[in-house]
Amino acid sequence: MSVTREEVLRIAQLAELDVAEDALPALTEQMSRILEYVAQLAQVPAGDSARPFLAGPDAIRPRPDEVKPWPLAFGPPELAPAFKDGFFVVPRLGAFDGGEAGK
């Protein structure tokens, strides 16, 4: 299954990744190649089933509700590329109003 140039650009937007014009043809070709390769999974009959695979433990073992943060040797002021008055600073949201969680 191939992808088109437009689809690659759309996916790049979803992934917030700039792709230069001149890189696009090669990238489109490579992605098509990869997606065609993995598409062979369709050959496995849908009816073939096995117990779903879970990589780790079967169930969560939660932690007690205590205020005990994991170690942090230094914090946001030292980590951040831009920090002022205790806040991380980013360029203003322009045509971008994407806030979700509980907003």
Partner: protein, 470 residues
């Protein structure tokens, strides 16, 4: 037709997936760690109390609690979403199929369906007006535990939606799972609104309404959006499926600025977390932790204390007040006077003092007894109450004595004032004796003045009557 999505912050000490404090009001970016900062290599560690509170909430709302549920990632980019995804629940949520009974102003007692209830983590806060042309991000709130409660499109009017919300808040508060404070952001609401002509069976297009930040605004925002949709349809147009933001200042809604494409959240099961399998003991445990819920308590108050439904509703509006009222009754106060005092002085005082119930219920009971027994007039008792409130308690009789408001119930003393008053107003005495019975109130008033309010008015009236009998 309105459906509501409510996000509720759970009352835990630490965050959903890390041990940072959830305390409100800390300086920005101080309640943070590698996990809630979304640093490379960090992993989520689930909070047991958050899980239990979520189970308790689901039970309080009559939901089917699923013994096995799964966390999922909701992927999108936003400056206050540190990992670039939110850990939530998608295909297999914690609970489904609940209901909440509430009093609809239009339809009487009705219930809203709770389609689903699930756990998730909160994002941080973005502040857009602090720096010019920039956004300030504070991650203290990132990772705070939330439950999302989604109703069906059950509400027929903005008022119904508001009443449901108030009932929901009450139930959540009673259950001890959240502060439900819209000002502090521990309860947030988004709505889905659509309209259709009566008789029409096809559902209208839904829009989402966001940025509602108080209970009053819920009703206003929904009314505005409903009217907007009606106007669009009346003009022959179609309602576009979009997200509207409510502007409280203008009391208007406007479309959230057009995004280039709608979100594709690419949900998939969270690989950093095993499934949430509830230990069998949790459900009965959390069920036992549920207190008597508001509706049941209200009904019991009506039956047990012979209160009206309205009075019972006021007294059970919050669990703290209900327990206070019963505390006073158990300390010996009679139910009806206690109800009046609580609905009156106690709640008025609380309103001005951050909802504190400053006078202990036992003390209130004592005060009420003094009034019932004639030692204090009602007016005097109010003064005593005010003093007790300032002191946060005390001995009502002692305070009354200090204020000098102990009612005089001594027949001799009152007898002397009776003489004084009758001597001073001979004309009125004559008029009374010739039939103007309502002058009794005048005499009592004069006597109260003469006694500087200390006389027991009932006794005074009785003695006056005796004296003036022909």
């Amino acid at each position: 037709m309105i459906g509501l999505e409510t996000h509720v912050q759970l009352r835990t000490a630490s965050k959903m997936f890390c041990g940072c404090s959830t305390a409100f009001g800390a300086p920005p970016n101080t309640n943070v760690c590698p996990v809630c900062l979304g640093l490379p290599g960090a992993l989520p560690a689930p909070n047991e109390e958050a899980l239990k509170l979520a189970v308790r909430t689901a039970l309080a709302l009559g939901c089917t609690v699923h013994p096995r549920s799964v966390f999922a990632r909701k992927n999108y980019f936003y400056p206050d979403l540190p990992k670039g995804y939110q850990i939530t629940q998608y295909e297999l949520p914690l609970a489904t199929d609940g209901r909440l009974s509430y009093l609809s102003p239009d339809r009487g007692v009705t219930s809203a369906t709770i389609v689903r209830l699930h756990l998730e983590e909160d994002a941080g806060k973005s502040v857009h007006d602090r720096f010019p042309r920039a956004t300030a991000v504070d991650l203290n709130r990132a990772g705070v535990p939330l439950i999302e409660i989604v109703t069906g499109a059950d509400f027929r009017s903005p008022a119904e939606a508001r009443w449901y919300l108030q009932t929901l808040k009450q139930v959540l508060e009673y259950s001890g799972v959240s502060d439900c404070d819209m000002e502090k952001g521990s309860l947030r609401v988004d709505a889905n609104v659509s309209v259709r002509r009566s008789g029409d069976s096809t559902l209208g297009t839904k829009t989402e309404v966001k940025n509602i930040n108080s209970f009053t605004n819920v009703e206003k925002a929904l009314a505005v959006e409903r009217d907007r949709q009606i106007a669009v349809l009346a003009a022959g147009g179609t309602v576009a499926q979009q997200t509207m933001l409510y502007d409280a200042k203008e009391n208007a809604v406007r479309p959230q600025r057009a995004k280039e494409e709608s979100h594709d959240y690419r949900y998939f099961p969270e690989p950093d977390l095993p499934p949430l399998v509830l230990p069998p003991a949790w459900i009965p445990e959390q069920q036992a932790r549920l207190p008597e819920l508001p509706a049941a308590k209200r009904e019991r108050f009506v039956a047990q204390y012979a209160l009206s439904v309205q009075d019972a509703a006021v007294l059970t509006a919050s669990r703290a007040v209900a327990e206070y009222y019963e505390g006073a009754v158990h300390a010996g106060a009679e139910p009806k006077p206690a109800a009046n005092w609580v609905m009156g002085e106690v709640l008025a005082d609380a309103k001005d003092h951050q909802e504190q119930l400053r006078v202990p219920p036992g003390t209130l009971a004592q005060l009420i007894a003094l009034v019932q027994g004639g030692t204090l007039s009602h007016q005097a008792a109010k003064r005593v109450f005010a003093e007790l409130a300032v002191r946060g308690g005390g001995e009502p009789r002692t305070v009354a004595e200090a204020l000098g408001v102990i009612q005089v119930g001594d027949t001799n003393a009152i007898g002397q004032w009776v003489d004084e008053v009758l001597r001073a107003h001979p004309a009125e005495v004559t008029r009374y004796k010739s039939g103007e019975a309502k002058l009794m109130a005048f005499f009592v008033g004069q006597l109260m003045k003469a006694s500087k309010g200390k006389a027991d008015p009932k006794l005074a009236a009785r003695l006056l009557e005796e004296r003036l009998r022909p």
